[in-house]
Amino acid sequence: MTIDDGPRAQRSTSRDLERYAALFAQRTKVMKSSAMRDLMAITERDDVISLAGGLPDTSTFPPESYASLMQRVAADSCARALQYGPTEGLEIVKRCIVEVMAEEGIGGIATDEILVTTGGQQVIDLVCKTLIDPGDVIVAEAPTYPGAVPAFCAYEADVVQIGMDRDGMRVDELEETLDRLEAEGRRPKFIYTIPNFQNPAGVTLSLPRRERLVQIANERELLVLEDNPYGLLRYSGEPVPTLRSLDGGEFVIYLGTFSKILSPGIRLGWAVAPRPVLAKMNIGKQAADLCSSSMTQHFVAAYFEAGRWQDYLRSLAEIYRRRRDVMLDALAEHLPREAEWTRPEGGLFVWATLPDYIDTTDLLARALDEHVAFVPGRAAFLDGRGGSSLRLNFSGVGEDDIREGVRRIGKVVREQVGLYGTLTGSGPPAAAAATPEPAPAPPDPELAEVLELPDREQRRRGSAGEAGPA
């Protein structure tokens, strides 16, 4: 053959990405996309016990209920379910939302304060679209919801993360940060928080901090995006008032969703926001998708009309409570004493922090050899922190898989702890560490300030250089 060009491409295909690279907008360059994403792709294999997802267990929904609800939609509202709907959502589904919000302790919501969205995720996107110019500051928790990170990045926001402890976001640190930003002439557009059973940390913002946060928002005239997907999935402890109910709707944008209480597949969420903000979000939504699915809105309306949504929610909460307990027991049995983790009162996630010489992105590679997966902590930070933490989901897989998955994670963690001990002469010999030790006592929640990552990171940076890339 000769070195010429051969048959020229007859057609371009979407796979030939380089042809389009020069056309990409500047913001695509800051969209997060990483080695971790490649690793995460492997976690979806059938032979992997994945504690990485954030999935509710939809197998708990009775197929016969699904069938009869769809039958009902077909019989009563076929044409309307197949039609476009108003951008702000159908009135019939807004009435369901009012019901859910009342259950959350938020009364007196008018249906014209609600924007029905395509999942809660769209609320995050629309809030950014409405408020964020490139370089604007968003204040978020550290760690924050990994799925919000691509949205923040797509709008080229500068995300400042505030440390957490077992009472949620450190409001004192928030105030210091706001002062500092103000001194720099930068005013954050909004504060993003998941007050209940936070994703990924599993902790709940305490009432005093909620009160103070709402006060701060009022004093400084800042918006707060309260993301509350799991509020009704409480397994222990007493409910805490939402920020929206404390604030009365002045500076809080409330994000709700049917994803965790019914189904993420129906892609329905909502925002309740101050009317001027809601109006702008509505325009943003028109551009994005005109309206959310009429079909699934009718499905939700039929489901609520049947009047058993709270029963289903209770059954879900009971299943998840048991799974949480199984996970916490398994963690106590299998993780070495150097590890710490949160004990969520609800939601879907436990956040564990390992000794800082373990990088959980690397650990995931080893864990995948054992056919188990989790989310490395770095996914929940925009600044490279979280390297020794991991997020574990307990809602998406059954109790046996949780036990076995945590056992396997415990095995690889113990191996690494043992190896590090051998390498530094500081720990037990690896052979001893490989034998299961007697189960250590569960961590004392008073002592386990597992989320104070900034300090840990500073210590690490102070003593040793960063050990290369992720």
Binding site: T2, D5, G6, R15, R37, A365, L419, L423, G465, P469
Partner: protein, 319 residues
Amino acid sequence: MSRVAVLKGGRSLERQVSLRSGARVEDALERLGHDVVPIDVGGDLVARLRETAPDVAFVALHGRDGEDGTVQELLELLDIPYTASGVSACIRCMDKVLAKHAMQDAGIPTPAFHAFNETAFKELGAAGALPEIEARLEFPIVVKPAGQGSALGIKFARTAADVPTALVAAFSYDRKVLLERHVHGRDLAVSVVDLEDGPSALPIVEAVPREEDFYDFESRYEIGRSEFVCPADLDDAVAARAAELALSVYRLLGCAGFARVDLMLEAATGELFVLEANAIPGLTETSLLPQAADAAGIGFDALIARIVELAGTRATAGA
């Protein structure tokens, strides 16, 4: 026209990259008029190969199984001609320690290194020898898993305190790791393709990372994260020497069809050092070998056509 099975994906950590390489190869093969059978490599690989009975298997796998000789061994058994290097060359390239020893023995410059498996630390007290290693290699030291194709698990140790952490990370990917002297300088890649006149070095690609201080896994595969210069702006003598080294390594390790050799041009001395050879380098939109081929006037389709053509001849020659 022939039936070509494109083997891609698999369970390696480089699965995503491989899927992208595979998809692009499939497009090219279709344009070339072949009957393309895409196979995402899994438990049914042997059955799928028997069932589809391809004339050629195009191995677009990276990392474990696909680049370490395992899949090649199966293809040999099934008597299916396949692209690129054979079993033994794959094994030599995939194991950086084997490759570096071969280079050292043949007098090809490669950065000084020491390699250990996990048992050396666990059972032979190798940790006690770390100070000697550190003294010989001098900081910063690069710690790498022996058998990871991409930059996953590669860590820098800037001080002695970083070494245990870096080792723990590298051992996440392989039971064998190496500690290597860090060569500070320019990151060069020489692609080699077996053309009519035999293995030929293509124009050199230099990777200039935009952000991080290291050419890492992320920037290697993401559009916009690294800047690639091809041909690299080098003295003729340096370029010629790099090409010569790459060809020597290609022959030394027994590569076939195509391969990519990664080198460092040390800033302080102007010396070239070979880091490793990749038996199945990436063929994605941002991969280096297709860029180098393009710079040599070989379009992607022509490159793929040549690689497929060689699969048949190597099988005959190797029989």
